[in-house]
């Protein structure tokens, strides 16, 4: 009697579980609700507005499939997601320099992918002028995916999966560069992070601790000249006083503009989700936030600095550094890091 009741209870639980699972459905499912987006409160109007590339569930699904597919690399070993990991705000945790096919090491640290719709240039040197053409770099770079466009298009055409995905997104099975790039932009464009504790605090949904508030005030005094809210970057370029790496010989922005005054200037990075995007700096030379703060603090004694914004930082006491780190951690947006839309389930 007891046994059969337990069995019944088990069965019921199991049935309920099944029902729930079928209600939740395939975790990869994307509906129009999932791709609806709006400019978060406090953000300016976006630079990239999906003009000529209207977002659709099928377009997003295609972009996500491409982003997670190693087929995009010459030897089918590396996908965009190999270097850009969801839980690291799409940076590459614990890798100083990018790792491409056959273990080839690149020359720069993988930046996070977030709020790209509000960016008017990409890469550490700002060499790329448009979100849609950005993937051409990793796709064809010998130290990254090392593939050619004609081969990539042929592989997609021959694959059992892509013609249907392109047809769903574009109405026919034609696979062209433009379609590949626009679908990728639908995925990368929707990587929007605006729900950190700091954002919730601004929206009066939560409060910051005493220490976090002290850190915020210090940050506004010393760091906002280059890292202002809401993106925690001016989107400009600067040299933040790092000694140049003699092996990498990376001249930064000068490579793009040719102007001597742009030597060693790099794109000022956003500090959203900075807690999880380590290592830091264009060459990933620092692993910990306290190392970064130690660097800025030491600049107080550097007499060669020309940027007044750096001279204004001054020495940071141990307490101030702890407060600043506490504040930087309020920029972590866990809804973004664990957003199921951005993950591909096998």
């Amino acid at each position: 009697m007891k046994n059969s009741r337990a069995l019944l209870a088990n069965l019921l639980l199991w049935a309920a579980g099944l029902l729930l699972m079928s209600l939740a459905g395939d975790p990869n499912t994307i509906t129009s609700k999932h791709v609806a987006w709006k400019t978060p409160k406090g953000f300016p109007p976006p630079v990239y507005r999906f003009k000529d590339n209207p977002v659709s569930p099928a377009g997003f699904v295609l972009g996500r499939a491409l982003f997670y597919d190693p087929l995009l690399s010459r030897d089918s070993t590396i996908s965009c997601a190999t270097c850009h990991q969801a839980f690291a705000a799409f940076a590459h945790i614990d890798h100083r320099l990018s790792h491409g096919i056959e273990g080839r090491i690149g020359t720069r640290n993988v930046p996070p992918l977030q709020n790209l719709l509000w960016s008017n240039h990409f890469m550490w040197d700002g060499g790329v002028n448009h979100l849609e053409v950005q993937p051409l770099n990793p796709l064809t770079h010998p130290d990254e995916m090392n593939e050619t466009l004609p081969r990539l298009l042929a592989k997609l055409q021959q694959s059992p999966r892509y013609p249907a995905l392109f047809a769903a997104a574009y109405g026919d099975t034609a696979i062209r560069t433009e379609r590949v790039l626009k679908a990728l932009a639908q995925f990368t464009g929707l990587l929007i992070s605006a729900n950190a504790k700091y954002d919730q605090y601004l929206r009066h949904e939560t409060t910051l601790s005493e220490q976090e508030l002290k850190g915020l005030r210090l940050f506004e005094q010393k760091c906002s000249s280059c890292h202002p809210a809401p993106f925690f970057t001016t989107r400009g370029f600067a040299n933040n006083g790092l000694p140049p790496d003699s092996l990498l010989q990376d001249i930064g922005r000068q490579k793009i503009t040719g102007r001597p005054e742009d030597r060693y200037q790099f794109s000022i990075p956003s500090l959203r989700n900075v807690e999880v995007t380590y290592p830091y700096m264009h060459d990933g030379r620092m692993d910990k936030l306290w190392q970064v703060l130690g660097h800025y603090s030491r600049l107080a004694t550097d007499t060669t600095l020309t940027d007044a914004r750096l001279r204004a930082i001054g020495p940071l006491s141990a307490n101030e550094q702890v407060d600043l780190v506490a504040f930087l951690r309020t920029l972590t947006d866990r809804t973004f890091l664990y957003d199921r839309r951005f993950i591909m389930y096998p």
Partner: protein, 219 residues
């Protein structure tokens, strides 16, 4: 980039402007800019011929000599042409927004066919050699501007307007290569060129009346 002291004389020359009659010579007002869009009109063909000094350019198998007496051969010559317009006494009467990639290796690419050219009497033809700034900043594009055509720089994004490649024993580059890749749209690096050629006599485009004009242009 290696500096090579080899002045090359490439003449971009000879336009055969050929207006073919179109049976649908009707025009209608279109779009909100108020411009007249001609659905009928004529087809205008532009034929491009490339010459070195006075002879027709031949890739790979002819050795040329420059003014310094240095021999060279050419293996590739490709460039963009866009925003073609026709001028009459009233101003620009016809403007195409399309881009074309002309490639010495592809016979078909050396004939540009413009459709729906309105009837009129034209005095000059103009175009952009290269790609305008807007199209350098517009993201993914298809057709002539598809990055698949190998005329796009990825790391410093923008189109390569012209590729001229070859070899010369006088070149200090690896394998004695000559490589001229010209592009750039940003301030201080604008390398597109406006070209306007006045036509010898009037080009009359009339339905049913073919016209041929030869235009020689050296660069």
């Amino acid at each position: 980039m290696t500096k090579v002291c080899i002045p090359l004389f490439i003449c971009l020359s000879c336009f055969f402007v050929f207006a073919k009659a179109s049976p649908l010579a009707t025009s209608r007002k279109g779009n909100n800019t108020g411009a007249t869009v001609h659905r009928g009109g004529s087809e205008l063909q532009l034929h491009f011929r490339h010459t070195v000094k006075d002879s027709t350019l031949q890739l790979n198998n002819v050795t040329y000599t420059n003014a310094l007496g240095q021999p060279y051969i050419l293996t590739k010559f490709k460039y963009y042409i866009g925003r073609i317009y026709l001028k009459s006494a009233h101003g620009r009467d016809y403007q195409s927004e399309e881009y074309f990639l002309i490639d010495e290796e592809e016979e078909g690419s050396k004939v540009i066919r413009l459709q729906h050219v309105p009837p009129g009497e034209y005095t000059a033809i103009g175009f952009l050699l290269g790609v305008d700034s807007l199209h350098n900043c517009s993201g993914a594009q298809s057709g002539a501007l598809d990055p698949l055509n190998g005329m796009f720089w990825n790391w410093n994004t923008g189109y390569i307007f012209m590729k001229l490649e070859g070899r010369s024993p006088a070149s200090p580059a690896p394998a004695h290569l000559l490589e001229y890749h010209i592009g750039g749209y940003a301030h201080g690096y604008r390398h597109m060129r406006e070209v306007q050629l006045s036509l010898p006599g009037l080009l009359q485009i009339q339905p049913g009346a073919p016209a041929v004009v030869h235009q020689q242009r050296s660069r």
